[in-house]
Structures are given as structure tokens and as C-alpha cells.
């Protein structure tokens, strides 16, 4: 989750010594949680290029998002090993459970599913699902739905 209270000038200071537009955008993603229009303006200003140049770089890379992600970001690895061991079924079940497609965010902002998670490099423990910082190895649909329902329940209780 990003911190949207970081001011433009604070962000500008932070990226002044960045070696490239790409690394500056990586900073923006880290600071704000997504690429905000203000961040694009600052990057364009610092590197003395047009905003469209910055957008052209940002939209090329999957790492950057242009809207806030959910509180719990779910990544279902779609590498080959995960795929042949049923990752697509797990993804479909999670999409059904949350009522969103990969790339979307739930209306309450609690969950988002990453679009196109490519191999996360833990193929010996496939299939892999990552929720936030938690890794679930050799997982399956039943286990993952239980985990997601548990998070939902905890969030509801926390809200009350």
C-alpha cells in the first residue's frame, strides 16, 4: 500500500539522483503504490521530457499500475509448472470467489488480483499463490478459498 500523502516536492527530491526514467518510475510505484498522474508530471519535469514519454515507458512494463491495488494483493503464478499443476483452476476459483477478474480490485478495496503473474521462480513447489507477502506452496483451490475467506472474516471482525 502506498502513501499518497507524500508531496510532489518530497517525491521530486527523492528521484533527483535516479539514473533513469525507469528507476524513477519504480520509486513512484514504491512510494505511492501506483503511478499517479502527479508522479508522472514530476518524473517528466526531472528528466526534462514530455509526460507522454514517461507514460510510454510506464505502460510498457507490467510492474506499473495506474490505479490503486487492493489491500490484499493476490498473485496466482502462471508459470509453466504451476499451469500444468492446475493454476488456472485456482485462479478461476479465486476470481469467482471475489467476483473480479485478474487485474481487478474488489469494490471494498480489500482484494485485487494481479494481471498475468509470470513465473515467480519457485517451480519445484508449484502451484504457487502469493497474497501480500505470504507465499502458499503446493497449494490447491480448496486451501486458497479457505485462506481468502479467513482474510475476509478477519477484516469484517476488524472493521466492527
Amino acid at each position: 500500500m502506498g502513501d499518497l500523502t507524500v508531496t510532489k516536492s518530497a517525491f521530486k527530491k527523492r528521484i533527483t539522483n535516479e539514473p533513469s526514467i525507469l528507476t524513477a518510475l519504480q520509486q513512484a510505484q514504491e512510494v505511492y503504490g501506483y503511478i499517479t498522474p502527479d508522479a508522472v508530471a514530476v518524473v517528466a519535469d526531472v528528466f526534462e521530457v514530455s509526460q507522454s514519454r514517461v507514460y510510454s515507458t510506464a505502460t510498457f512494463y507490467h510492474q506499473f499500475t495506474f490505479a490503486p491495488r487492493g489491500k490484499h494483493v493476490i498473485s496466482v503464478c502462471m508459470g509453466t509448472a504451476c499451469y500444468v499443476l492446475g493454476a488456472q483452476e485456482i485462479l478461476n476459483a479465486i476470481e469467482d470467489e471475489l467476483g473480479i477478474k485478474a487485474g481487478g480490485v474488489t469494490t471494498d478495496g480489500l482484494f485485487s488480483i494481479e494481471h498475468n503473474t509470470r513465473c515467480v521462480g519457485d517451480c519445484a513447489s508449484a502451484p504457487i499463490v502469493i497474497i501480500g507477502e505470504r507465499w502458499f506452496n503446493k497449494t490447491n483451490t480448496t486451501k486458497m478459498l479457505a485462506v481468502i475467506r479467513k482474510i475476509k472474516k478477519d477484516e469484517q471482525e476488524g472493521a466492527q
Binding site: S20, I21, Y61, A93, C123
Partner: protein, 520 residues
């Protein structure tokens, strides 16, 4: 830092490393490990990656020390003699590449760069991650040797952002190496300076292609450019640039320390040394496997991998990721090396080996890889951008059971056009999964056209059934969104195929796996 100091550290820490090695070999006294030859992975899971001392105790940085005593030409000669070929996939002779960069540095008189390609994007391959996480100093040492050999003073490690621990460990190791005078000014007291910087990828598969990777380090869109000029003459910031991948670099220090025979005494003809494979998929023992080049697929899958679990039949092995192909089980006595895989329509690639059993549909697998290439195509050249989309459309038609025989011809023709006309390696190799499955599993394609999916994987061509294992527990009935499953608790259950929408929600609920997919 001097040789004497290196030796002191080695003496002090070698007993710790020896103990760790003994513990590791006792713990891993299994066929999975005993049938391997671990050269590149020699330190993985043994030494502490955050301890430069432990790396030095395994003869670390002695290869660099030796290299700096001889001429750069001599260093390149040793790498050439070792027979090392690039482990990133294409198998280009490493020593020759170093030679090219050195020549263009001398001709142009400019500075040069050394780049480590750690943008391991091939799904199903994870050896580079393991090396960077567990033995980062081997990469640093090798890049420094390469810098000396080609005449560069600056290097970049381009790592995927998806590998946070690898990023952390390589950064830590760079700081430690600087502190010990193994990076920076006057390395080991010699008139040679070299330093490294880490750059993170941003999630673009095409950036594993060397010209795209260069564009990405420069902070631009990671689009490839036509070659020539090759990076060895005009690379990063227009300067001669040496690019090798992690696994290639990781073997260099020991080659320099022990001589070229360390590498070329094993392996097969023109394919010296070992190769690390990432064994995964439907296999009993998955993991990283390092074996001499030229051993057979059978040896890897059965002797090391322990075969396919759950009594299922192995069908194929996929090598080389989205640029590779599927090799059928009847060809498993094939020797694995760069040249023999190419002959059967696949590639060694970076070394991913994904084992597939009878439940994996080859049309679906081809579709999976083409979908990958569609998503990851940078869009610059038309054959790759539009061609792959067209391929996907035809494959979709096949998996829906709507295709005709002439679609297979179209699939082949279009594939050849994409291969011949694409700008970079991504496009040129993207149809390989289609062509290799068409070649070795044509029957399966034809079955789909007739309306059957033999592996019962393509949704449109399968039906769900409840078999005799059913214990009438009634758990599946409430999950069905269309009430297609009828039956009361402790009474026979029945699945109405006419109503069923094949959403698949019921199957994982069943405690005895009685709900199964069958081919129509």
C-alpha cells in the same frame, strides 16, 4: 586485499565450510543429489550467501587473483579453451563473445560495459534465482574477471524485480566485495578498477533479449533493436557491451582457478561442462538439477527425478520455456545438449524442464505458451504482434472443437512466417511450442478437430461425471450454481450433463475425488 589476506581468510573459515558441506552431503544422500555433478551449484544451500568469508573459503576470488596476474588475452584464451557456451539459451561460445568485445574496445578505444542478464523470465526456470540468492559472489567475481578481460570498468546486474531476495543478496555481496577491495579502485592491489550496479527489471519478458535489456537499463521502453550492430560492438550507451547470463558467469571463477579442464573434461562433443536444469511439473522430485551435458532425458526424469507420481503415465517434457518445444516420452533416450534438442524442434533454452503427464493436453499447452507470447510481445514488429494473436485464435478454435483440418496447415504456415520475419528472438521462437506439438502430437490435434480432448483438459470437449467412488455425502450438491447435481444425503448422486455448465466448482469439494472430467 592481497593474495596473502585471501589465504588467511580461507584458512580461518575453511573448517566451517567443510562442516557445512559434510552436513549437506549427509542430509542429501539421495539419488536426486547423488546423480548430479554440482559445479555451478557447488555452493548453493551450503555456504551463507551473506558471508564473503565463506565464499573465499571455497576458493572464492582466487580465480580473480589468478586472472589479474595474466594478460587479458590469456584470460580469454582460457575461457575459450574451456568450451563454455552461453547458458542463457542460444549457446554462443562465451570466449568468442569476450574476444569480440575486447576487439571492439581496442578498435574504438572507448570504454565498455559488462552486463549480467539476470532477467530470468522463462516460466519454469529458476536456476539464476538460486545462484544469485545463494552464491552471489560467484557472479561478482566472474563479472570482474570479464571486466578485466574485455577492458571494462563498469558493470550492471539486471535482475527481475520478482526476485526480491536475489536483489537483496547481490546488493549485500557487492557492498561486501567493495569493502574487501575486490570491487572498486585497484582491485587486489593491481592497476585495475571495476565496479557494479544493480538494476531492476520491471516485469517485461522481452527484456531478457539483450538489445531490449540494454534499452531497459538505459531507462527506455524495453524494445529490441535489429542486430547487427551486436551489443559487442554497440551496446549500452552505444559502447561495446558484454552480456552473459548468471549461470554462465557463475562457472567462470572456478574455470579460471582450476583451468579449462575443470569445465571441458565433462560433457559431450561441442557441449562442454554441466547444465543446470529446473525440473518441475508432474515429477516426484522437483528442483534444480545439475548434470553433465549429454545425459539422456530418461536419466534426468527417472534416475534423478524419480518419475511421474500418482501412477500416471509421462507424456512429454517441455524444454526451453515459451521458445522451446515438447519432447514426447518415446524420445526420452535423447541426449540433452544444445545441438540435439535443436534437431528435434526444441531448444535447451535456459534449462527449464517441465514434465507433463497424461492429464496435460498438448493443444492446451501450446495455447498456454502462445498466450504467453501474445502477452509478452512488445508490439514493435508485426509478425510477432499480430501473428501470435492469429495463432492463438486458431488454437482457440481447435480447443473449442470448431476447427477443420485446413486450420492445421494454416497453423504451420503462419508459424513459419513468424519465425522467418520477426525482429527478435522472442518472435522468432514463439511458434516453437506449436510446431513441436504439431510434429510430435499431431494425433491429439486431429482428435480435437473430431471433437475429443484425449487428456480431458479442454473445457468445451469434456463432460463431468460422478463415478462409483461417490460416497453420497451430498457436499457437491449445494455448490453447483445451476443445480445440475441431484441426490439426497446417503442416496445415489447424479450429474445432469445437459444442465452442467462445466464450471468445475464441484470437483475440488469432493472428498473422494469422485467427480471427474472425461473426454466427450
Amino acid at each position: 586485499m592481497t593474495k596473502k589476506k585471501l589465504e588467511e581468510i580461507k584458512d580461518k573459515y575453511s573448517s566451517i565450510v567443510d562442516d557445512k558441506w559434510t552436513q549437506w552431503s549427509q542430509k542429501n544422500d539421495t539419488p536426486f543429489f547423488n546423480n548430479q555433478v554440482r559445479k555451478v551449484l557447488r555452493n548453493v544451500d551450503i555456504i551463507d550467501p551473506l558471508s564473503i568469508h565463506e565464499y573465499i573459503a571455497t576458493d572464492g576470488y582466487f580465480g580473480l587473483e589468478k586472472s589479474l596476474k595474466i594478460t587479458p588475452e590469456k584470460v580469454i584464451e582460457i575461457v575459450q579453451k574451456s568450451g563454455m557456451r552461453g547458458r542463457g539459451g542460444a549457446g554462443f561460445p562465451t570466449g568468442k563473445k569476450w574476444q569480440f568485445v575486447r576487439e571492439s574496445v581496442q578498435n574504438s578505444g572507448t570504454e565498455a560495459y559488462v552486463v549480467c542478464n539476470a532477467d530470468e523470465g522463462d516460466p519454469g526456470a529458476f536456476m539464476d534465482r538460486a545462484i544469485l540468492e545463494n552464491d552471489p559472489h560467484s557472479v561478482i567475481e566472474a563479472m570482474t574477471i570479464a571486466g578485466y578481460a574485455v577492458g571494462a570498468t563498469k558493470g550492471y546486474v539486471y535482475v527481475r524485480a520478482e526476485y526480491p531476495i536475489a536483489v537483496k543478496n547481490i546488493r549485500h555481496a557487492i557492498t561486501a566485495a567493495r569493502k574487501y577491495g575486490l570491487l572498486g579502485e585497484n582491485i587486489l592491489g593491481k592497476d585495475f578498477s571495476f565496479d557494479l550496479e544493480v538494476r531492476l527489471g520491471a516485469g517485461a519478458f522481452v527484456c531478457g533479449e539483450e538489445t531490449a535489456l540494454i534499452a531497459s537499463i538505459e531507462g527506455k521502453r524495453g524494445e529490441p533493436t535489429p542486430r547487427p550492430p551486436f551489443p559487442s560492438t554497440k551496446g549500452l550507451y552505444g559502447k561495446p557491451t558484454l552480456i552473459n547470463n548468471v549461470e554462465t558467469f557463475s562457472a567462470i571463477p572456478m574455470i579460471m582457478f582450476k583451468g579449462p579442464t575443470y569445465w571441458n573434461k565433462i560433457g559431450s562433443k561441442n557441449n562442454a561442462g554441466t547444465k543446470v536444469f529446473a525440473l518441475a511439473g508432474n515429477i516426484a522430485n522437483a528442483g534444480l538439477v545439475e548434470v553433465p551435458m549429454g545425459i539422456t532425458i530418461n536419466e534426468i526424469i527417472n534416475d534423478i527425478g524419480g518419475g511421474v507420481p500418482n501412477g500416471k503415465k509421462v507424456k512429454a517434457v517441455q524444454t526451453g520455456g515459451p521458445s522451446g518445444g515438447c519432447i514426447p516420452a518415446n524420445m526420452f533416450d535423447l541426449k540433452i545438449d544444445f545441438d540435439s534438442l535443436q534437431r528435434v524442434g526444441s531448444i535447451l533454452g535456459s534449462g527449464g524442464l517441465v514434465v507433463m503427464d497424461e492429464t496435460n493436453c498438448m493443444v492446451d499447452v501450446a495455447k498456454f505458451f502462445i498466450q504467453f507470447s501474445v502477452d509478452e510481445s512488445c508490439g514493435k514488429c508485426t509478425p510477432c504482434r499480430i501473428g501470435n494473436k492469429k495463432l492463438l485464435g486458431i488454437l482457440d478454435k481447435i480447443s473449442l472443437g470448431n476447427a477443420k483440418m485446413k486450420d492445421l496447415v494454416e497453423l504451420e504456415n503462419l508459424s513459419k512466417i513468424i519465425i522467418n520475419t520477426s525482429l527478435c528472438g522472442l518472435g522468432m521462437s514463439s511458434p516453437n511450442p506449436v510446431l513441436s506439438t504439431l510434429k510430435h502430437f499431431r494425433k491429439e490435434y486431429v482428435e480435437h478437430i473430431k471433437g475429443h480432448c484425449p487428456a480431458a483438459a479442454c473445457k468445451k470437449l469434456v463432460t463431468y461425471e460422478i463415478n462409483e467412488k461417490c460416497i453420497n455425502c451430498n457436499r457437491c450438491v449445494p455448490v453447483c450454481p445451476v443445480n445440475a447435481i441431484k441426490g439426497e444425503l446417503k442416496e445415489d448422486h447424479f450429474l445432469d450433463k445437459e444442465i452442467c455448465v462445466k464450471c468445475g466448482k464441484c470437483a475440488p469439494i469432493c472428498p473422494v475425488n469422485a467427480i471427474i472430467k472425461v473426454s466427450k
